[in-house]
Homo-oligomer: 383 residues x 2
């Protein structure tokens, strides 16, 4: 299978969907709100609501307290969450770390929102000291905060509690902020790690989204977006929104995706997923250790399966392994379908390429201290 | 097949996609711009560009003069086209007929655009006299116009030439307006009708979108969005957009959809599609005649396959046939998978229901003159 080499992308193909193949003979369309029945009969709303209920339990919000839908991917989740935030606070300022997913910046532009880019620490998490400075400069405006539960490049997990504490310290009461959690990558993984901070609606967060084609392994891009129902009610009361009878972004929506999600979640089960998450973290740790052992600058954030390392110098090698790179660094996102054996092959090739490149001392490994911190850099200066 | 009863929705299931069933074992993701290669290897960009080239020929724009992508449906096409329009003219006013698809109004709200609702004629087309009044009131602001090539309810086709003429009469030069054509339903049908006005980029239009799950018959919601390349270049020169490296709305995109579209277009071929379109119009005309013959108020716009008629009074009947209704009217959108036989069954049942309801003269058929015009209404007042 071609995708097994795509180590740079959080794509999971560990699952056999053959049983669902015949569904393509139907044109399954979940148009509009999953909780409002339409006249078009070929839909999978029951599966969709089943998936939503599953995530509601995971993220600790009661059935009658949430609203949500299965999206076409992480981007639509962010577009929806930030739109709800803006509608709640039309003059609110969007605070987002500079390492957040690019769709957040795209949303800010689409929605004509004031957007403040917040600094990050070397790990990739939002720098709450800088967030504090930014918030204090704009105390007169409500705050809309995007929290990354797994940044795109470094898999860094912003600390919800610290962000909330920062808001409190800056004098923002609960009715003056909206928090959207972009949990595209780790929204399904984090809840299965005992020592991880919970993604829970018991905290003062307002919306959460997760991708369905990453850890869950749906064969098509999709995702789940969940928001407190009172916010959607605020939107629905608006006459213009009622006219559309539709609180989603996309209107017509792929009805196959909820079936794939429902099937995967139920076949794997809570314990199966938990085991897979734990295994990913073990393999990620193994990969980090082996890279470090081979003299490669490398970083692995706690509770993360994204291994960040010095960008290989060989473009063909990058293409072959479908590595995702950003300037001096590359990453591998360990997913359930990634085996030690595949990674060993990758490592052997990488080590060989490096030994040729660096053998006569003319070339030196690049410094990546500014990307992943001095402590993780083993360039000649920092070794 | 359940969908064969969904006569109220433009869903086409005339095609056998069994040959593509195995593709679900891959996670095909066309992330971002279809013309910019990414590192992720499991994509269907070649099919996507093939589909785009096909539509470029249909809509008469050269390969090197267009940019486009396969969307998740008609809504994403409208969201993209109107966003490009707004970015071209940040202070532009959006003019849209009140019978346009609701996603246009949703876009206006999302994008914080000034939106002027233009009146329609009884047929459902934009009233260019009202458009003129509206334009003249706002001559100081550029105009962003949404043209419906097939309105949702009545299948009405706005007249591009008349809209352009109205703009000229109001003193809007070419560099002061942007025209987006929402051709979700008829973008693929109209070009196959000899006497139909062309959807062509030789006219001063800027973007066109069409749905892929309607006439083409993709089993999942999708669509095609096409825009003049110079507009995308304007966007791309913007630093913030370059930062995202992505001029689509959705980012991660379903890579199966372009394969389905490519397969359907190439298997059916130009002549096959032409025959299907002509057949749809013949059947729509048959349906209209039979309804009129049965004493039902009915309207069928020229070049349209959407038959609009008096809303049946029986909710169970509406649900069974999955009719799409709006206030006093219902419609049937004749698609290639809809047979005379199915429609005969529908008609027989409808006639029977009506004969029972109206037999003793206590109930009267409703007046729908304000919906579809006096000349199409056969209520006791207008008969």
């Amino acid at each position: 299978m071609v995708a097994s080499r795509a180590v740079g992308y959080p794509v999971n193909l560990d699952f056999n969907y053959d049983a669902l193949g015949h569904l393509q003979q139907f044109s399954i369309n979940n148009a509009g709100d999953p909780f409002i029945a339409g006249n078009y009969g070929v839909h999978s709303r029951d599966f969709e609501v089943g998936v939503l209920d599953w995530f509601a339990r995971l993220w600790e919000i009661k059935k009658d307290e949430y609203w949500g839908y299965v999206t076409s991917g992480g981007t639509e989740g962010n577009l929806h969450g930030l739109l709800v935030g803006r509608e709640m606070f039309p003059d609110g300022i969007l605070y987002v770390s500079k390492e957040a997913h690019y769709s957040v910046f795209k949303a800010a532009r689409m929605y004509r929102m004031n957007c403040v880019k917040v600094e990050t620490l070397a790990s990739g998490v939002i720098d709450c000291r800088d967030l504090k400075d930014c918030l204090l400069k704009n105390k007169d405006k409500p705050a809309i905060i995007n929290i990354s539960i797994g940044t795109t490049v470094k898999g860094a997990i912003d600390d919800i509690d610290l962000v909330v504490q920062t808001l409190e310290e800056c004098g923002f009461p609960r009715n003056r902020f909206y928090i959207h959690c972009d949990a595209a990558l780790f929204g399904l993984m984090l809840p299965f790690l005992d020592r991880a901070p919970h993604i829970t609606f018991k905290k003062p967060i307002d919306s959460v989204c997760v991708s369905g084609h990453k850890f869950v392994g749906s064969p098509m891009p999709c995702g789940v977006q969940m928001v407190r129902i009172e916010h959607i009610n605020v939107l629905s009361r608006n006459v213009e929104y009622i006219a559309t009878m539709d609180t989603t972004i996309m209107g017509s929506r792929n009805g196959l995706a909820p079936v794939y999600l429902w099937y995967a979640l139920n076949r794997k089960g809570y314990n199966g997923l938990k085991k897979q998450v734990q295994n990913c973290l073990i393999i990620a740790s193994y990969l980090k250790d082996r890279l470090r052992g081979a003299g490669v600058s490398v970083m692995l954030n706690e509770l993360s399966s994204t291994v960040v390392f010095e960008r290989p110098q060989d473009e063909e090698f990058i293409r072959y392994w479908q590595l995702s790179c950003q300037e001096n660094i590359a990453h591998i996102v360990v997913m359930p379908n990634m085996t030690k054996k595949t990674l060993d092959t990758f490592l052997d090739e990488l080590v060989e390429k490096r030994s040729i490149r660096f053998k006569d001392g003319k070339n030196q490994p690049p410094c990546v201290a500014s990307d992943i911190g001095k402590e993780n850099c083993v360039c000649p200066l920092h070794i």
